[in-house]
């Protein structure tokens, strides 16, 4: 992990009508981190990420990405962000390689570079041998992997994974988690949101817990544990930390997805 700040929120807020969804949050994410954003549904995680990707405009506050003010430099910033949405965003009637080609080309990559990027992205998610298959014929796990491949062809410095393992089998889930760590080792900074505590515990170097639009705690797993107990040998889980800090169980919000 480097010392350079790759993403910084300063007093960031978002209101929809009278409802405050993100409430004055401030946060710094360093280059090379795998940063976990943890919180129940409606905590404001996706809204925060949507503001990072300029899908939503903040009501107030400021976002700096790669040292640039987001509102003034969005085109430059977008070129270096890979957003993996929670929902599958792929064309079923296009082949795997065509999907990757389409979405990678949106970042201005052409010719040989584009071909290389397609092969590398598909190889990264283990779908190179399925490159000529239609996406509609893929299993749920394969579609999730293709969903990732479509967002990484332009080699982003910052990858944002918005609950990428929802509704898939454990094997595919483990594969995706391994690949996230792999991408981080190759130099990408990762922001990862999930309902699954053990995923966040397993891969994230730092974690922020969000509730009701606010960040209520930030730190490494051990730092978060120390917020609720002074016992250095404590086996307390992240879920218990969450419960103690928010007074709520995460699984109450996660519906049937929480495993």
């Amino acid at each position: 992990m480097k010392d350079e700040t790759i993403l910084e929120f300063k007093g960031l807020s978002k209101k929809f009508g009278d409802k405050t969804v993100v409430d004055h949050i401030s946060l710094e994410i360093k280059e090379g981190e795998i940063f976990g954003l943890l919180g129940p549904n409606g905590a404001g995680k996706s809204t925060t990420l949507n503001m990072v990707c300029s899908l939503l405009k903040p009501t107030s506050g400021n976002i700096e990405i790669f040292g640039l003010n987001a509102s003034d430099n969005m085109k430059r910033i977008k070129n270096q962000i890979g957003y993996i949405p929670q929902e599958l965003a792929i064309h079923g009637n296009l082949k795997a390689w065509e999907n990757v080609e389409l979405f990678t080309s949106l970042y201005g990559i052409k010719g040989k570079d584009l071909k290389t990027a397609i092969d590398e992205s598909l190889e990264f998610v283990g779908l190179l041998d399925k490159r000529k298959d239609y996406a509609k014929n893929f299993s749920g796990g394969m579609k999730r992997r293709l969903n990732i491949a479509c967002a990484i062809g332009h080699k982003p410095r910052l990858m944002i994974f918005d609950e990428p393992t929802v509704g898939i089998d454990p094997q595919s889930r483990n594969f995706i988690l391994e690949k996230i760590v792999d991408a981080n080792k190759r130099g990408a900074t990762i922001i990862y949101t999930s309902h699954y505590m053990e995923e966040v515990e397993a891969i994230c170097t730092r974690i922020a817990i969000m509730d009701n639009g606010r960040i209520i705690a930030v730190g490494t797993r051990d730092e978060l544990v120390r917020l609720v107990t002074d016992d250095p040998n404590s086996n307390i889980s992240l879920e218990e930390v969450f419960l103690t800090l928010t007074g709520k169980k995460l699984r109450d919000y996660a519906g049937g997805d929480y495993l």
């Binding site: 957003y83 949405p85 929902e87 064309h91 079923g92 052409k110």
Partner: protein, 348 residues
């Protein structure tokens, strides 16, 4: 280019396109057969017996030989009746059309069945009378033919009409890409990317135009030999059809981009196309239209059908320039509108 290419692939992989071509060819055949009698009754000239007479001391009586010659040159045999009761002659079938010439002009009597023929006879008679001054001064051109505009047969008319109509209907093919994007939340990816709205606009417009052109080309290639269509002015006709395809895609892109719901977009397009088609001569031919000229002139389909029909029957059309200008204007207006609509949609 990659966006255009992949959206084109999405469109070409849609099996509905094959259905559209089949429907286009079948509807053309069906309507040309259904309206064949109507078109034939209106435009075919039957052989008929034409009688004529002059009123007593008619000033045009010296033109008798000229009149007979001119009618003969136009393949119409006249029977002269020195004194005749026109209504009686037509009533008992001695003459199918009868023309009574007097100092004020002429009166034409005919059976209902010979409406077209009586019109032609009247036209010839008036043309001769209008030149009577020239005859009296010895300048009358003895040999001249009356120009009667050739009329299209039902196959030609409905092949043209339905080719034009389906060009406009085909704008709905963009719905394939738009609905795939909405169903699969592809908009998220576009909005996260630095791709401009202009790039996205051409990602819709170019593939849609290309597919409409392909559909029409295939349909024309099938209909031409199938219905024995002869394109007398193929170049101009195809230029009009090509511009029509581009204009249709431009209009379709604006509508799909402005309206959020795909089904509502298709419904709006359907209403627009029905209006254009109804007043433009896609159902009943524009020659038989019973509504005001002002209404049909609001339809680009009318201009397209009329100019292509006239080009391929008369060899020229006064509507060609208007049609080309109108289609170019639609394209020029709709392209920037579409870009704005795509940008607005992205922001929404």
């Amino acid at each position: 280019m990659t966006l255009i290419k992949n959206n084109l692939k999405l469109l070409l992989r849609c099996k509905v396109l094959i259905l559209i071509v089949i429907v286009m060819v079948m509807v053309t055949g069906l309507l040309s057969a259904v309206f064949k009698d109507l078109m034939t009754d209106s435009f075919e000239l039957k052989e008929c017996k034409v009688g004529y007479t002059f009123s007593s001391e008619c000033k045009y009586e010296p033109l008798k030989s000229v009149i007979e010659t001119v009618f003969e040159d136009n393949d119409i045999d006249l029977i002269y009746y020195p004194q005749a009761d026109a209504e009686k002659l037509v009533g008992n079938g001695a003459a199918d059309v009868f023309i009574s010439i007097n100092d004020e002009g002429c009166t034409v009597y005919s059976d209902k069945e010979y409406k077209n023929e009586s019109g032609l006879v009247k036209m010839i008679a008036y043309s001769i009378i209008s030149q009577s001054v020239g005859v009296q001064s010895g300048n009358f051109a003895n040999e001249y033919e009356i120009a009667v505009d050739p009329m299209p047969d039902s196959e030609l008319y409905y092949t043209i009409a339905y080719t034009v109509y389906f060009i406009w209907c085909a704008m709905i093919v963009l719905g394939v890409v738009i609905s795939s994007e909405r169903k699969n939340r592809i908009g998220l990816r576009y909005r996260c990317s630095p791709a401009s709205s202009i790039k996205r606009y051409f990602g819709y417009f170019v593939p849609t135009s290309t597919v409409i052109i392909l559909l029409i080309a295939v349909s024309v290639a099938i209909c031409t030999p199938l219905y024995s269509i002869s394109w007398n002015e193929p170049l101009l006709s195809f230029v009009i059809l090509l511009l029509g395809c581009i204009a249709s895609a431009a209009v379709g892109t604006v509508i799909f981009s402005l309206i959020k719901n795909v089904i509502v977009s298709i419904a709006v397009e359907y209403c627009l196309i029905m209006y254009f088609g109804f007043f433009g001569g896609a159902f009943a031919s524009y020659m038989h239209a019973s509504f005001a000229d002002g209404l049909r002139e609001t339809s680009p389909i009318y201009y397209m059908i009329r100019s292509i029909v006239e080009l391929n029957t008369m060899g020229q059309s006064d509507y060609t320039a208007t049609t080309l200008i109108l289609l170019c204007a639609i394209i020029v207006v709709c392209i920037p509108l579409g870009m704005i609509a795509v940008k607005l949609r992205g922001e929404r």
